[in-house]
């Protein structure tokens, strides 16, 4: 086995350089620079208004930065890699009038997923929901909707997962199941970013805890307690 210094350097899955995002006079991101290695689970923490969601939306290509750049999977052309991203937002990004399978069937078409019915049923089962459920998503409980939203993000088997508050309004048992699913995905080589206020759920699962404050990353540690103690 070669010594660690002789191993080829792993190119980052995501690289953010001098990222600034301003909404009028308010700067949501103030020069964020960071590199994120592939196959790791990152928990992004911070108070409300710290810039967590804006950072995630910028990485998803939904919010163009005012200054700075983002490279995903080695390219700054985010549009060219959007097929390899999975994005889950705070709202469900689902049509309330359609069932889970109908919703996912439509999004599978957008991603040109092969064998789509099978794939939709698989991801629905992966989040512990029933694919045969015919009732519209609008009649789901909030927790079920969150899980279906995660299923939608997993549909295209993305290399990078961007999850904004995936555990909000989810009961503790379901949240733990979601964490265990995320851990499995990370072990399968996916790079996962989770913005959350329920950091304790990711203790033992996340590889790094990133603390954001006033639009900047102020600490990155592998241990949640160290992160919380330094704040």
């Amino acid at each position: 086995m070669p010594p660690v210094s002789d191993l080829p350097p792993v190119s980052p899955a995501v690289s953010v350089t001098g990222l600034v995002k301003q909404f009028g006079r308010f700067a949501a991101l103030r020069g964020v620079s960071a590199e994120f290695a592939p196959g790791r689970l990152y928990a992004i923490l911070g108070d409300n208004g710290a810039g967590k969601t804006t950072l995630l939306r910028a990485m998803a290509g939904l919010t163009p930065p005012t200054r700075g750049s983002i490279a995903m999977l080695g390219t700054t052309n985010l549009r060219s890699v959007c097929g390899q991203l999975g994005y889950m937002a705070h709202p469900s990004l689902l049509y309330d009038e359609m069932s889970g399978m109908e919703n996912l069937g439509y999004f599978a078409r957008l991603y040109d997923v092969s064998n789509k019915d099978q794939r939709c049923a698989d991801v629905i089962r992966a989040v512990k929901l029933d694919p045969s459920l015919t009732r519209p998503v609008g009649q789901y409980s909030q927790g079920m909707r969150q899980r279906m939203s995660l299923a939608r993000a997993l549909l295209n088997d993305p290399k990078i997962l961007l999850l904004d508050e995936p555990f909000s309004n989810v009961d503790v048992r379901s949240a733990r199941e979601m964490v265990s699913l995320l851990r499995g995905l990370r072990d399968a080589g996916k790079t996962i970013f989770v913005v959350t206020h329920q950091a304790s759920l990711l203790e033992g699962a996340a590889d790094e805890f990133i603390w954001m404050e006033a639009g900047q990353i102020v600490s990155r540690t592998p241990d949640l307690h160290t992160t919380l103690e330094t704040q």
Binding site: A89, R109, D112
Partner: protein, 225 residues
């Protein structure tokens, strides 16, 4: 191109399914058009000849305002739960979404026209003295002109605070040439006093120019913050 067509088909099928279940657009359009027909028929009692002269304007006013209702609904549906973001992060081309929305709105307004035309004929005692076969052509071209611009400007005004007001403000001025052509062509066919050919050609050219321009520009509108 085949990707655009197949994704537009999938999006159209999804939109028709949503409309079939909610009936948001068609109900409000029908209600609005019915009001126009009934109120105008109560307001004045025209002779058959007068009816033919004013019907072009009347019919298109009803359809134009009803179409605005449908156009607002189309995008409001995508803004609920921010579903539009799911489309924006996908590799699907923006053109496919635009095309599906335009065709969907065209279907809704055409259904409305099919339901309302018999009422217009009865209430206003209408009968075409010119070549009646041109009426469906004018209806199709005119409707396309309304929905292609309307869908584009409704998307543009999506993120504005008062989008219900913004849409007519943007749409009506730019639709004036098309509206003029629709009204004149319909009047010409109903009265038989002059040929509608010039207005039909103008409408077709208008449709072509604005369809191509909207298809090119929609990507910028969709990705705008």
């Amino acid at each position: 191109m085949s990707t655009v067509a197949s994704l537009a088909r999938a999006t159209l099928a999804k939109d028709l399914r949503l409309e079939w279940r909610s009936k948001d657009a068609i109900n409000s359009m029908l209600f609005f058009s019915l009001l126009v027909v009934v109120i105008f028929s109560f307001s004045f009692d025209p002779t058959a000849e007068e009816s033919r002269r004013i019907a072009g304007g009347l019919v298109w006013v009803a359809f134009l305002f009803a179409a605005v209702v449908a156009l607002n609904q189309t995008w409001a549906r995508e803004m609920r739960n921010q579903v539009l973001d799911a489309y924006r992060v996908s590799p699907a081309p923006p053109n496919a979404l635009f095309l599906a929305k335009v065709i969907g709105n065209f279907i809704f307004v055409t259904v409305l026209q099919a339901l309302m035309t018999p009422l217009f004929i009865v209430f206003y005692n209408l009968r075409a003295l010119g070549p009646a076969y041109q009426l469906p052509i004018v209806a199709a071209l005119g409707t396309w002109a309304l929905v292609v611009n309307g869908t584009f400007f409704a998307a543009m005004s999506l993120r504005t605070r008062s989008r219900e007001i913004m849409l007519p403000l943007l749409l009506f001025p730019i639709s004036i040439p098309a509206l003029l052509a629709m009204v004149e062509a319909t009047g010409a066919i109903l009265t038989g006093e002059f040929s509608a050919r010039f207005w039909i050609v103008l409408l077709a050219a208008y449709d072509l120019v604005f369809t191509i321009a909207s298809l090119f520009l929609f990507g910028f509108v969709l990705q705008a913050e």
